[in-house]
């Protein structure tokens, strides 16, 4: 893509309604207030870093957005249209794909089966979903195409992902999200537990997704990675948004102090 086209695309994204808007989100677990009136906006072609110490509410926020939990109150809009994310299935239909920290991969299945878990290509259509016959060919081909497009190298496409290295597995999890996300890709600690070289690959992969026009939310504790790939850094503390910064070397210290709450 030429630089000019890149700029044009970014402008188009800026003028369009944000891919995801969360307003006034709250969530309680019993007496614990996990989210206390949180607002969040992410646009296409933008990487938003969600920062905060452990227990700040980052994971709760993304689990609500991806349908694992439900907000107690608050509203969610996608591309300017109000939506209710009532379950993981609904999140998927809305084009929200999430890569969880604990890697929601199936170690006993191959990459194609992982890609299509819960949305298998199968027929005939008149049968109930579970009784349909798997159409393995198209699933394997599409998976191979996506992995190739995102430059994720897999030695043997029939190997179960349990036999792959941490970096390969994370790349497959990210590529799976990319393959099906039409709106937002959410990544929870995508580089945790990865080596330097493996992290590099995953970061490049995230940048590639951004260039393809995905809206991306990344939770990360790795400040170096945040500074490098994020267009916007949002800091949470005790269930609230406490700051928003453009990550630049000069305000790195400011972001860190927002996270740890040194100004209290």
């Amino acid at each position: 893509m030429t630089a000019a086209a890149d700029v044009r695309m970014t402008q188009a994204h800026m003028n369009a309604p944000p891919a995801l808007t969360v307003r006034g989100a709250t969530k309680r677990f019993g007496a614990v207030v996990a989210l206390d009136g949180v607002d969040l906006t992410v646009r296409r072609g933008e990487v938003l870093a969600l920062l905060g110490d452990n227990g700040a509410g980052k994971s709760t926020l993304i689990k609500c957005v991806s349908g694992v939990h439900r907000f107690d109150s608050g509203s969610v809009e996608m591309n300017g249209v109000p939506v209710e994310v009532t379950s993981p299935a609904v999140a998927r239909t809305l084009g929200i794909e999430t890569v969880y920290q604990d890697l929601a991969l199936f170690d006993n299945l191959d990459p194609a089966a992982n890609f299509y878990a819960g949305r298998e290509t199968a027929g005939p259509r008149w049968l109930p979903r579970g009784l349909r016959v798997l159409r393995r060919g198209p699933m394997v081909e599409t998976t191979a195409d996506v992995l190739k497009r995102l430059q994720v190298g897999v030695a043997d496409a029939r190997t179960t992902v349990g036999l792959m290295s941490g970096g390969q597995r994370q790349a497959i999890a990210v590529a799976r999200a990319a393959a099906f996300a039409t709106n937002v890709v959410i990544l929870d600690e995508p580089t945790a537990a990865l080596g330097v070289r493996e992290s590099r690959r995953v970061l490049d992969l995230i940048l590639r997704l951004r260039d393809e026009g995905h809206a991306i939310v990344v939770i990360s504790h790795a400040m170096d990675h945040v500074m490098e790939i994020a267009d916007k850094a949002v800091v949470m503390r005790r269930g609230r948004m406490v700051g928003e910064e453009i990550p630049r070397p000069e305000n790195r210290q400011k972001i860190v102090s927002l996270i740890v709450g040194g100004d209290d």
Partner: protein, 341 residues
């Protein structure tokens, strides 16, 4: 070519393959290899073993275990266990015999037996999923006790003689030297194979076993999948009840004692993992055959019957040890992958 070989040697490969992947390939066919070894040894020691009559005998004796093992495999694939199948087998045999005493219809008797098994399976599945019990071990331990008790109570503790002709044929009839039950097992194995490898539902069974929380987040109907495997296991216990009752022309509350352990042993010998998501139909059948062959072979060789459980115990240990070795090899395989990428 020379360069490739040198390259392979430098990377510690054998003929282009890594030692761990060679090991993994061997372990993958491990259950079959073990069966071949056992069959070869016994056939050398006993001239009778490989006669058609004895092979038919082994197959007939193994049929009920094989049917139970097919269903137990699906349960174990989801990280579960079904301890109730032996008792359910007895209950369905007793129900069948008692229905036959008032209704002289083969199909109705068979239907009653299958319905009995399915009902127990449905209770297991529903209690486990909706009762939110910690592990199916508990639920099926309870139904193991309850179903056996119900069978004893209904029958008055006595075997009820007599089964319809069609049930007798399914349990003990022969086509040439092959028991009818072998064809029944083959048919059910084919159905289980198609379910587990070709249908979406089967893919979900593996997914639920591989990563239950991941399956939930992938919008797979986890509860439905879990209930279904216990229902199928109950149905299989009903079928095994038909085979056993037909073979002995009776329904007795003592049928199928410890049959659940045979079924579990068959699945484990077949290389399935208790951690879920790993195992296949062919190997589960091989595991069932292994148990049948060992029992039959030791009878032919006049080995003390008390030694049989010991030998089967050793075979189970070997199978589990192979699974441990597989885990280690996979770890080494991963390291090699990471270094290379």
């Amino acid at each position: 070519m020379v360069r490739a070989t040198a390259d392979n040697a430098a990377r510690g490969r054998i003929g282009g393959y890594d030692p761990p992947s060679v090991g993994l390939a061997v372990i993958r066919i491990g259950p079959v290899l073990m069966l071949v070894v056992v069959v070869t040894v016994i056939s050398f020691l006993s001239p009778v073993f490989l006669t058609t009559r004895n092979v038919g005998n082994v197959l007939g004796q193994t049929a009920a275990i094989a049917v139970l093992a097919l269903a137990q495999l699906m349960v174990i694939l989801t990280r579960g266990i079904d301890l109730s199948v032996g008792s359910t087998l007895a209950l369905s045999a007793v129900v069948g015999a008692m229905v036959f005493e008032s209704v002289q219809s083969g199909p109705i008797v068979i239907l009653a037996m299958l319905a009995t098994g399915t009902a127990v399976g449905a209770v297991n599945g529903a209690l486990y999923v909706y009762g939110r019990l910690p592990h199916p071990f508990i639920v099926t331990l309870a139904t193991l006790s309850a179903a056996r008790g119900l069978a004893l109570w209904l029958s008055g503790g006595q075997p009820h003689r007599g089964m319809p002709d069609i049930v007798q044929a399914l349990g003990g009839g022969l086509l040439g030297w092959l028991p009818y039950s072998t064809f029944l097992v083959a048919g059910l194995a084919l159905l289980t194979l198609l379910l587990t490898t070709r249908l979406v539902w089967g893919r979900w069974i593996y997914a639920v076993g591989g990563n239950p929380e991941g399956a939930r987040r992938a919008a797979i109907p986890v509860k439905g999948v879990l209930i279904s495997v216990y229902v199928l296991s109950g149905l299989a216990a009903g079928v095994a009840g038909v085979i056993t009752a037909g073979r002995l022309n009776a329904g007795s509350p003592t049928f199928g004692e410890l049959a659940e352990l045979d079924a579990i042993a068959a699945v484990v010998i077949g290389g399935a993992s208790f951690l879920g998501g790993r195992g296949n139909v062919a190997n589960a059948l091989v595991g069932a055959l292994m148990i049948g062959v060992i029992r039959n072979g030791m009878n032919l060789l006049n080995v003390d019957a008390f030694l049989q459980p010991i030998v089967i115990g050793v075979v189970i240990l070997i199978a589990v040890e192979l699974d441990v070795i597989r885990g280690r090899l996979e770890e080494r395989f991963r390291v090699i992958q990471a270094v290379r990428s």
